[in-house]
């Protein structure tokens, strides 16, 4: 069983009278523990696909199996739960709360976790996460007092606070220079290899993609190649591939 499986996912935006089809039948699978890069031209629908994968958006049609559950028809509250428990999301623009310490940014998702944690437990978990991304000495810095790379690492720590099995990152290095990009990418690799976290990241950069074990290419709302890993290609016919 794959951790993530998409079957004929379509997404069409409606702009007044005009229908804008963005995803035109995407099928793919990602097994647990993979590090996958998603590449494609601008406007090809990468972010749209990532939003659906991250349970932030609903597909117009198709099935999305995440960890054995079909989540595309979930209610808003159920999807919020899934986002909280099973998914970590890293944004291109960090999206940290300003004037809030790194530690509090990291522990923020715990507010919405069903099981109650004491302030001490929250603090400990937040510090553990910051240590994991190597920022334990910056826990009381505000985002404006951190470099871009550090901010993105805080964002990664925040995404990991609930120990989700999968991490989605939409152009995580898009706002970073090549040196800090390297730093962040090394972090992703380490998380993938040491902790077995499944990671799907969107990138334009071929060198970034080269870090991944598999690259999915998307073009104009359709997956061109890499939809299935070699192991699973045997069991599944290549869908939508050329």
């Amino acid at each position: 069983m794959n951790l993530i499986e998409l079957n004929d996912i379509r997404k069409t935006y409606h702009l007044g009278e005009i229908d804008v089809p963005v995803l035109k039948g995407v099928s793919m699978a990602v097994a647990g523990g993979e590090l996958v890069a998603l590449m494609g031209a601008s406007g090809s629908g990468k972010s749209t696909l990532m939003n659906i994968l991250g349970c932030l958006d609903r597909p117009s049609s198709g099935e999305y199996w995440l960890d054995g559950q079909e989540v595309s028809r979930y209610s808003n509250d159920q999807r919020a739960m899934v986002r909280n428990q099973k998914i970590g999301f890293v944004f291109q623009s960090f999206n940290l709360l300003s004037r809030t310490t790194a530690l509090e940014n990291v522990t923020m998702p715990l507010t919405y976790t069903a099981d109650f944690l004491t302030p001490k437990e929250r603090h400990e978990r937040g510090m553990a996460m910051l240590t994991r991304v190597g920022l334990d000495d910056r826990s009381h810095h505000h985002p404006s007092q951190l470099s871009g790379g550090q901010q993105q690492r805080v964002a990664i720590a925040r995404a990991l606070i609930n120990n989700p099995p999968v991490l989605f990152a939409d152009e995580p290095t898009g706002n970073l220079d090549s040196k800090t990009s390297e730093e962040v990418l090394r972090m992703f690799k380490q998380l993938n290899e040491d902790d077995g976290i499944t990671i799907i990241l969107v990138t334009h950069d071929v060198t970034v993609a080269s870090h991944a074990r598999r690259t999915i290419h998307i073009h104009d709302g359709l997956i061109v190649n890499g939809a299935y890993s070699h192991a699973s290609t045997d069991s599944k016919p290549a869908g939508g591939g050329l």
Binding site: N51, G54, L56, D57, N76, D77, A80, M81, R83, N84, Q85, F89, F91, N95, L97, S98, R99, T100, E104, M108, P109, T111, Y112, T113, F116, R158, A159, N162
Partner: protein, 455 residues
């Protein structure tokens, strides 16, 4: 436990922009502050008005004996002698709505001291409690007579300021002996000045003595109506009585001493002319009247259906004035309070809406990491309520401080009002909920992707 987290988040969010939070809540601060200050000053003045009206006798009830009539001729109020000192004692003892009371025996005769004479407006025989009933402040000088003086009909008296001035001409009256209808009374106290009453009568032109002394030593007879006896007594000294004779024609020849001694008409009961009582508060007046009626009917053994042989008068007009001023004042303050809180609430709503728009990305982010729409709703609602409550508390402190300053510098009467404080807290929380709901609801309805994309 969940609420604690929400509260924490809300507080954090507010603390990220303390200046704005403070400015937002300024409307509530001013509103609540004004309400508290006005309530305290208003209650202070209304209490002061109440006190001054009370000192004019708004709480007092006057119990008069019933009306005698004979052959269709009514002799007017107080023409029978149905009230006894025992009635007075029973009323004070058995009526819980009565604070205190005093029996009154009236006389009107001439005072003589050192060759000067004077007829006071009011000469009352009573008990020491009269001073309490009539709210005489402390005596200007000397001391009041005691219950023992009343028991022994001692010849002591208190005089008012007017008498001290007119009869004693600036001498200290304490310890001097004046004569009331040829009976020597020792002045043991001088009443403090009270001025004229509502109808312009000089309240300082008064002599107060133990009622037993007035009754038995001055009025002389306990069986004659004092209205008539006093005029008779006055005429005995007043030379004008020849010009305007007020003596009744004697129907029977005067009794000789032997006849009087033999007469079986000894005094069975002693009557008093009036009983003056003071209710606990103006609101208790109807209750006091009911209790007094019950006690007196019982004591006078009146059958059901028989008319009362006494009447009770209250100062209805004064208490009406009192209640209407207080109600008017309260309503006025309430209106002002409502308007200022409304303005404050609209201010909160305005800033909360701006805040929701400004923090759209934050809302999107919170939703992306797992906040449900009701979590967002609660967060913004709690923020608004916290803002309003903090504003309310600052307002209470400012308002209270302001009213204390008014008291200190302008010497206006001020009264701390716990009710106003509690309701101010309640009202500011309500304002927070009412005006915070729409922005919070708007925030909770945002779509996570749109919110995250918002620039």
């Amino acid at each position: 436990m969940k609420l604690q987290g929400t509260l924490h988040t809300a507080m954090r969010a507010l603390c990220r922009n303390p200046m704005r939070a403070l400015l937002t809540t300024l409307g509530i601060v001013i509103g609540i502050g004004a309400v508290i200050a006005m309530m305290e000053i208003g209650q202070g003045s209304s209490a002061a008005i109440q006190k001054s009206i009370t000192s004019m006798g708004a709480n007092n009830l006057l119990i008069l004996p019933g009306t005698a009539s004979s052959g269709g001729v009514s002799f007017g109020a107080g023409s029978t002698m149905t009230l006894t000192p025992g009635d007075y004692e029973a009323i004070v003892r058995d009526c819980p709505a009565v604070r205190c009371g005093a029996p009154i025996v009236r006389a009107r005769t001439q005072l003589v001291y050192n060759g000067r004479n004077w007829v006071p407006q009011s000469m009352s025989g009573s008990t020491p409690s009269l001073l309490e009933v009539q709210l005489w402040k402390d005596l200007a000088d000397g001391e009041c007579f005691t219950d023992r003086d009343v028991l022994n009909s001692n010849r002591v008296c208190l005089v008012g300021q007017t008498i001290a001035r007119e009869l004693f001409q600036g001498e200290n009256p304490i310890g001097k002996e004046l004569r009331i209808k040829n009976v020597a009374f020792k002045v043991i106290g001088v009443l403090s000045a009270k001025g004229a009453n509502m109808v312009g009568m000089d309240q300082d032109d008064i002599v107060i003595a133990p009622w037993t002394s007035i009754k038995f030593r001055v009025s002389g007879s306990s069986l004659t109506n004092t209205n008539q006896s006093s005029s008779a007594a006055a005429s005995a000294v007043n030379t004008l009585s020849q010009v305007y004779p007020s003596n009744q024609v004697a129907l029977y020849p005067d009794k000789s001493d032997t006849q009087i001694a033999d007469s079986m008409l000894t005094v069975r009961f002693v009557n008093v002319d009036q009983i003056l009582v003071s209710a606990i508060s103006p609101e208790e007046i109807p209750a006091a009247m009911q209790q007094i009626t019950a006690v007196l009917r019982e004591r006078h053994r009146l059958q059901r259906g028989e008319p009362d042989d006494f009447s009770i008068r209250d100062m209805t007009e004064m208490s009406k004035v009192l209640t209407s001023t207080t109600t008017l004042m309260t309503n006025l303050l309430l209106c002002v309070a409502m308007i200022s809180l409304l303005v404050g609430g609209v201010g909160i709503m305005n800033i909360m809406l701006v805040s929701v728009t400004e923090r759209t990305r934050e809302i999107g982010l919170r939703m992306a990491v797992g906040a449900r729409s009701k979590d967002i709703l609660w967060q913004f609602l709690v923020e608004a309520v916290v803002l309003c409550l903090v504003g309310g508390i600052i307002g209470i402190l400012l308002g209270h401080g302001g009213s204390l300053m008014v008291e200190a510098f302008l010497h206006w009467p001020v009264e701390t009002s716990p009710t106003a404080i509690v309701s101010a807290v309640g009202v500011s929380a309500t304002v927070g909920i009412v005006f915070g709901f729409y922005p919070a609801w708007k925030a909770s309805r945002l779509d996570p992707i749109d919110a995250l994309r918002y620039e």
